[in-house]
Each structure stands twice: as structure tokens, then as C-alpha cells.
Symmetry: C2
Subunit: 296 residues, 2 copies
């Protein structure tokens, strides 16, 4: 048995949220069913955000409730930008949420219209109001910001320290616009794991500059055991061609399985599901296997 790597599918949130045409809740649930059938156990099933901001996620409660009902044993969670979202996630039955805060303050303002102080205060409210909820933090722009460029790793360490002191023990390092490179990923992962040895770190790497696979592997080889990706590599905005996308779950699983890692995921089922998704839902799919006319 090789080293175990946990695959965290975030397509139902990070893939679908960029699509303008509404995907019916039943369709979303069928993809969650398919992911579960392929052996994926960690799924970010939706996002509890303002339906005005992201109409695609207006069915968050329905999707979360029904997904939990269909797959009671699996690890489902949702992204929440604030206390209101966290409360809605809890009311839908979720035990776990990821709260997103950008390392770059300018990106944080652009993304969720909050300063760092305001985000930290909102997080405090979530932790105080809903102490039974498991809260992880998605650290957006952890490897660089399209507005501010790259940051010294010390800035990330200080940022994590603030969150750690609030009791957070699970962090997702997000390369929001695909600015990282493997050398940087190794350095950052090594340093954060040294600084916070009892915390769990996940990697969420975008494939914008074609480094989705190589950076995710760099994170794994530097010690990260949990990696996020989306089925088909779905992601990015259809109105900004090429500004995608996510690391493709099936391509990643195929690489890891071939290398002898233990993912517990059936890559053939994932490829079939990704092809089905692409046929039904127009979007930017950066994965390769789903386009390949050969079997894996």
C-alpha cells in the first residue's frame, strides 16, 4: 500500500459557481452521486453565498440537505463567506464549513468586500455563534495575488498565526489565479508545516499557467496529504477564455494512482463522469483525460 492521499472534490462549488446558466439542483446532485460512486469521500457540495452575488448557488440548502441524506457517511462541506452563510450551512445539516479569507487584502476586498480586520471579526462571530461547527479557512491568494504580486512566506505565516490563535486547525492554501511554481510550493508547504505541526493543510491549485498537476504534486511531496481539485478541471469564467481553471480531479487521480499513491478513487469512473459533465454542462474543462480518445 502506497502513501494515502485524500482527494477533495470542489467542483460542485468552484466549478459550477462560474457558470452562468443555472444547473438544476437534481443535476448537481447526480454529479455528487457519481463522485461518491467513484470513491470520492470529501466533497465541497455548495457555497452559502448571496443568491444575488452568485445565482448558481441559490439552491445551496436543497443540495446540501439532499446530498447528506443520500450519502450520510461522506465528508461534505460548503464554502461560506460570513456568519449568515455558516448559519445556513449548519441549518442544512452540514457539520463543516470553509470560510474564505484572502492573504491579499486587496483581493479580499474585491472578493468578499471586507478588510482583513472585518474578515477576522466575522470569523470570530462564526466561531462564537456556532461553536459546534468545524471551520477551516480557505487562504485565497496564498501563493500570490493578481493585484499585489507575490508575498514573502512570512506574511502567510503571520496570517495563519492569527487564525491559529482563534483555534483554526485546518487551512487550505489556495493558488487562486495559478501563480505558484513548484519551488515556491515546496518552500511554502515546508514552512507552514514546520510552523504549525498540529494543523492540517490542504492544497487548492489552479491550472491557469499549466502548473496544476506539477504544483499539486509538489505540495504532496512537501508533505500535504489532502488536495483539492474539480472534475474535468471545470473552473474559470466562460467569459475570460483560458483564465481557467482547476486541477482536474481525474487527471490528478490518474497520476497519483500511477505513481503508487493510495487515493481509493476509480479513475475510469471519474473520466466517464467528467465526459458526461462536459457533454451536459458547457464550461471550460482544462482536464486532458476527458478529451482523450483512449482509455486510461
Amino acid at each position: 500500500m502506497g502513501r494515502k492521499i485524500e482527494i477533495v472534490e470542489v467542483g460542485p462549488r468552484d466549478g459550477f459557481q462560474n457558470l452562468c446558466d443555472y444547473i438544476p439542483a437534481e443535476e448537481k446532485l447526480r454529479f455528487i452521486d457519481g463522485l461518491a460512486d467513484a470513491g470520492i469521500t470529501h466533497i465541497q457540495v455548495t457555497s452559502f453565498v448571496s443568491p444575488k452575488a452568485i445565482p448558481q448557488m441559490k439552491d445551496a440548502t436543497e443540495v446540501a440537505k439532499e446530498a447528506l441524506a443520500r450519502h450520510p457517511g461522506l465528508d461534505f462541506f460548503a464554502l461560506v463567506p460570513n456568519l449568515r452563510g455558516a448559519q445556513a450551512a449548519k441549518d442544512a445539516g452540514l457539520k463543516k464549513v470553509s470560510n474564505v479569507i484572502s492573504l491579499s487584502e486587496s483581493h479580499n476586498k474585491a472578493n468578499i468586500r471586507k478588510t482583513h480586520e472585518e474578515s477576522f471579526a466575522e470569523l470570530d462571530k462564526i466561531l462564537e455563534t456556532l461553536p459546534e461547527l468545524e471551520v477551516s479557512i480557505d487562504v485565497a491568494t496564498a501563493f500570490g495575488c493578481p493585484f499585489e504580486g507575490k508575498f514573502p512566506t512570512e506574511k502567510l505565516l503571520s496570517f495563519l498565526d492569527v487564525l491559529y490563535k482563534k483555534g483554526i486547525r485546518e487551512f487550505t492554501l489556495c493558488d487562486t489565479t495559478g501563480m505558484a511554481n513548484p519551488a515556491q510550493v515546496r518552500e511554502v508547504v515546508t514552512k507552514v508545516k514546520e510552523a504549525f505541526p498540529d494543523a492540517v493543510f490542504e492544497a487548492h491549485i489552479h491550472d491557469t499557467r499549466n502548473m496544476g498537476m506539477v504544483n499539486t504534486l509538489a505540495a504532496i511531496e512537501a508533505g500535504i496529504d489532502k488536495v483539492q481539485s474539480t472534475l474535468g478541471g471545470l473552473g474559470g469564467c466562460p467569459f475570460a477564455p483560458g483564465a481557467s481553471g482547476n486541477t482536474s480531479t481525474e487527471d490528478l487521480v490518474n497520476m497519483l494512482n500511477e505513481m503508487g499513491y493510495e487515493t481509493g478513487v476509480d479513475v475510469e469512473k471519474l473520466v466517464s463522469l467528467a465526459r458526461e459533465e462536459k457533454a451536459k454542462i458547457p464550461g471550460i474543462y482544462s482536464g486532458h483525460l476527458l478529451n482523450m480518445p483512449v482509455t486510461v
Copy 2:
């Protein structure tokens, strides 16, 4: 100054050869000019093959001669399948050719209609008839064959040994259909470098399964200093969608430059050139930067 990595552009051969619509020689030469302007010094400018088999390469002599005339200082070479091609390459003024032989005998038969014995005999004829020509060997299917699957590394070592004893000192390990994974690349590269310490090895990795970048980096980190790729990732057959492609030169250079390697190549010029190529020449471009609406 970081470690120096030599970028070998093979797009004018491996990219263009799959395109059905003839690209005028002058157009091909303008891309070679652009590549040279971006700082690429090693270019596989064409292939001396039967124009019946690959009509796109019917202008091999014209392209090679004119490229040499325009860029006398650069390292230009061509692919040749046999003595006839090698003679034509020499007559065009080239000092270096790459002769392709597949590790997989069934692939060798499918590709150049020769058994291993016949290929080795043809190579002997090239070496005897044209002793002044520098001959490297492209080892196709070095990491696996679509017909025969993966081979033990010992088979590759025996194959290289036959060639080494004929005096060959430069080998390109080709992952012809993108079957390699980073663990395999590291193992293979480590073993061949141990077995043939005075030979030069290059890596030529296809991106079929989305491992072009990660496998090329694996080859570099295992000790290979010279890597092949194509501008835009152009490659594969337009009639087999997704069965592309090559590792994209500009994406690869961007990663290596960002990591601190010394490539001597200007990535912005390459991205502009790749975009120009894509606009002019329809094909399968697997690169990301050329599709990205942002600067690098």
C-alpha cells in the same frame, strides 16, 4: 545564476507534421525566426521523410537551408528515419540529425515499417556513409507503448547499449503517447544516467494525460539538462481530438524561469509568438499561457 536548462524546440517538426493543410515554407521560417528572436538556440527545423508519407515536410530542404542561412550560429537539426533522409539533411547543410527508433518493436514497425534489426542496420549505414554527421537517437515509446504497454527499464538499458556501442552519445527519451508518470521518469532517468555517464540525454514528453509539465520537471530534477517541447504545445492529430499534444515551450519556460532555472529564453516573446501561431495555423494547442487573458 540558476542551473542552466537547454530548451529544444521541436514544433517545426513534431507540431507541424500532424497538420494536414500545408504551411508555406516562408511561414515556417518566420516561426523559426521568432523562436530564435525569443532566445531559443536548439531547433528541430524539419524532418527529411517521404513527402508521400508526410506531405507537410516536402519543403524540408528549403526550410533547413534557409533557416541555416538566416541563423548561422544556432543549433539546427532534423529528424530522419533512414539513410536517404540523413543524406538529404546533410546536403541541405545540417550537421546534426536525430534518427528515430522505437523501444517498442511493434511501434517501430507501425511508425517506420522496420524491425529493430532493420533500424539498427539502417543506422549503421548512416554512420558508415556519413561519418561527419552528428547523429542522436530519438528513443520513441521509451516510457511505454500504446500497443505493448510499459517495459522494464532493463529493456531500455539494453536497447541504449546497442546504440552506445555503435558510437551514439546523445539520446532523446520520448514519451510518445504521454504514458509516463513522474516517479517512472525519475527512475528511468536516474538509471540511464548511471549506466551511460558520458552520454547526453534529452527528454521529449507528450502532454496527453496532462503530465507534460510535471514529467519534464521530473526529468530535469533527475539530472536531464536538455528538454524538448513545442511552441503552444502544438501537436497531436487534429482528427483525434485530445490525443495531443506536446509540452508547451512557453509554459515550460515560464515555469523554469519562475523556479530560478536559467533558460535564456524570453517567455513574453514566446507567448506572443504562440498566440500568433494559433491565430494563423489551426491545430491542437495544449498550452495554457497562450490562452490566458493576462500577462506573464
